[in-house]
Symmetry: C2
Subunit: 377 residues, 2 copies
């Protein structure tokens, strides 16, 4: 087994590339999509299900786990892997994004960000040191630095001031977690909003601190697809080629393809799991809204090309019935299916890159998922 | 394979008895507890889960399936077994109990019972012929006759009048479904409220019609445990010894033991599945309310003697976390566990009967589950 943090690049196709990232809980083939398991569970699924659908790494949310059940408790019980019985790699975010999107009153200061819990309104401080301490308690394989996710529409002055704070917080995170400590990797986050020169400045500063991998933050925050792709194409190559690159919070098929084309290695998004619970299903024949009346009598599988249990076992008519009746099994089967679709799509993308036909694969998938902006995650 | 309806008695211990009932979808070892799959799914579980926990037969609700997705639809799609991908035996009730407990306005007449759907208020008629037609559409292995479930507290005059109607409806059901037709069995239901002589009268009349098995209905409707046991002990022996006896809607461990002691072979109840979703779990060490603070840090399994996936994989602390966070996985793991507990308990009961130590087994279980009336299903 390679030392955690070892990143070996495989064949590339244009800027799209394959690789293998080693962690303390195993290797991850890139490009990879990471299912989100906010509260120590990928909603409705068991760890065995995640293995079955070939999930290689999952994500946990620091903000949520800190509030409930608490990182101290998880540490006492042996860490997040043991707690949730998932022995594969786990990436945790820093909680910064949730503080900005979920919590009530929040105040940003040099020390950190003070916020009110969305559960009970209690006040908390996330400092760079605190979010590292939480993630060390969780025992995640890949930790993220605290950053300020600049809201869409922020002006240049605000964005520049903010990226300075993000850099200083990144340095404090690095100091709180020396490179290689405990086998837990630490990734930096590049901000800079929608100003290309500020993205370059942020990238230079964050790379200067030195991390095991680098993320692009502050995208998919309300901008149009074209705006996102413009920044993505410009900023991805600024990240060191020899380290994994992570596009945070992005997950529509079309966006994953654009990210891979720009040289991104890692993605996460609630889109496949949240859409599953809303009855929107991804298939090899295009998107299916399972509640539609046309499926009432449809005894064919949801996706004849899908290897998941739901597609091998049930008809669209049954899946529609479960969804209409709000049956618990609906959420489970839909989630199993959507995550299987994403897993297979990423496996096919890796094959296409290795075989030098990524552009063709991308065009095929984009024809199936020609998302417009209202379809964004 | 034996012809559907073949019922072979095995060793007995006092009035408690073992047996094997053959159906068109396989044999069922009795005494048996049947998990309830109201809408074509045992809530939160897959058919593979039911196999894993050794469920031998499950129950579907005619009232619910008639309203949604509709028995015509299920028939067009090949029947309930195919629709829900469960190839084991299925028993369906007649819908009568749900009409009385769930629907709004209802009018009982000789023809049948008219009721308003609890979903959209639409008016429907369940006649004896209609509920047989629905159950034939569903393709259930064991169908139940339409009966009037007399409310607790009904007086003698009402109860006697009602059992006459139940008998006439039973005859019409039998005429609508000749013995042996399609391999679908038909069970009669004995009413008579809490009047022993009326129970005897109803039993005589229903047995006179002739069915593949006989159920006691109208118990667990609000009476005390002692009242129920009094009727049970008196009425169970009135049912033919050579046919399966079914105590409808009863499912607390103590009541199952009392039923088996009285010579009952089949039980169903939402108790283990509904309690699972409410966080009340049955274990070999007694009842556990998983939301209690005492389990916050408890890294031991829910039940060290349980073979289920939840007990083999997770701690009480994790199960508590899922429950408190209202995570979908909580419902699934709790349901898996409770149904496994009931499955193992019934298997142990059959062994105890075969080995002539049922009284000892019953006393052990009653010590663990000394239910008082407020604990009733």
């Amino acid at each position: 087994m390679n030392a955690p943090g070892t990143f070996t690049l495989g064949p590339a196709d244009g800027r799209a590339r394959t690789g293998r990232l080693s962690t303390a809980h195993g290797d991850v083939e890139t490009p990879i999509f990471m299912p989100v398991g906010t509260l120590g569970t990928v909603k409705s699924l068991c760890p065995t299900d995640l293995r079955d659908l070939k999930a290689q790494i999952i994500l946990g949310n620091t903000y949520h786990l800190y509030l409930r059940p608490g990182d101290d408790l998880i540490a006492r019980l042996g860490g997040l892997h043991k707690f949730m019985a998932w022995d594969g790699p786990i990436l945790t975010d820093s909680g910064g994004f949730q503080v900005f999107s979920l919590s009530g009153l929040r105040q940003i200061a040099e020390e950190g960000v003070t916020f009110a819990s969305h559960i009970d309104g209690s006040r908390h401080l996330f400092s760079p040191e605190k979010v590292i301490s939480i993630q060390r308690n969780l025992g995640s394989d890949i930790m993220m630095v605290l950053d300020e996710c600049v809201p869409y529409g922020a002006d240049r002055a605000y964005t520049e001031k903010s990226l300075g704070l993000t850099t200083r917080w990144a340095r404090r995170c690095r100091e709180a977690h020396p490179a290689g400590d405990r086998g837990q990797l630490l990734f930096g986050i590049v901000q800079g909003g929608f100003f290309k020169d500020l993205r370059a400045k942020s990238a230079e500063e964050i790379i200067g601190v030195g991390f095991d991998g680098y993320a692009l933050g502050g995208l998919s925050v309300g901008e149009s697809r074209n705006e996102m792709y413009d920044i993505l194409d410009d900023a991805a190559p600024l990240l060191p080629a020899e380290r994994p690159r992570y596009l945070m919070g992005v997950g529509a098929p079309r966006d994953l393809l654009a990210g891979m084309a720009a040289g991104i290695d890692m993605f996460d998004c609630v889109l496949p799991t949240r859409n599953a619970r809303n009855g929107t299903l991804f298939t090899s024949l295009g998107r299916v809204n399972i509640k539609r009346a046309e499926y009432r009598d449809d005894d064919t599988p949801l996706d004849p090309n899908c290897p998941c249990y739901a597609c091998r076992t049930f008809s669209k008519a049954y899946l529609r019935h479960l969804y209409i009746a709000k049956e618990l099994l609906s959420y489970r089967l839909n989630t199993l299916h959507n995550l299987t679709f994403f897993s297979v799509m990423m496996e096919r993308a890796r094959e296409a890159i290795r075989e030098g036909r990524f552009a063709v694969f991308r065009a095929e998938m984009e024809a199936l998922y020609p998302e417009t902006d209202e379809g964004k995650a």
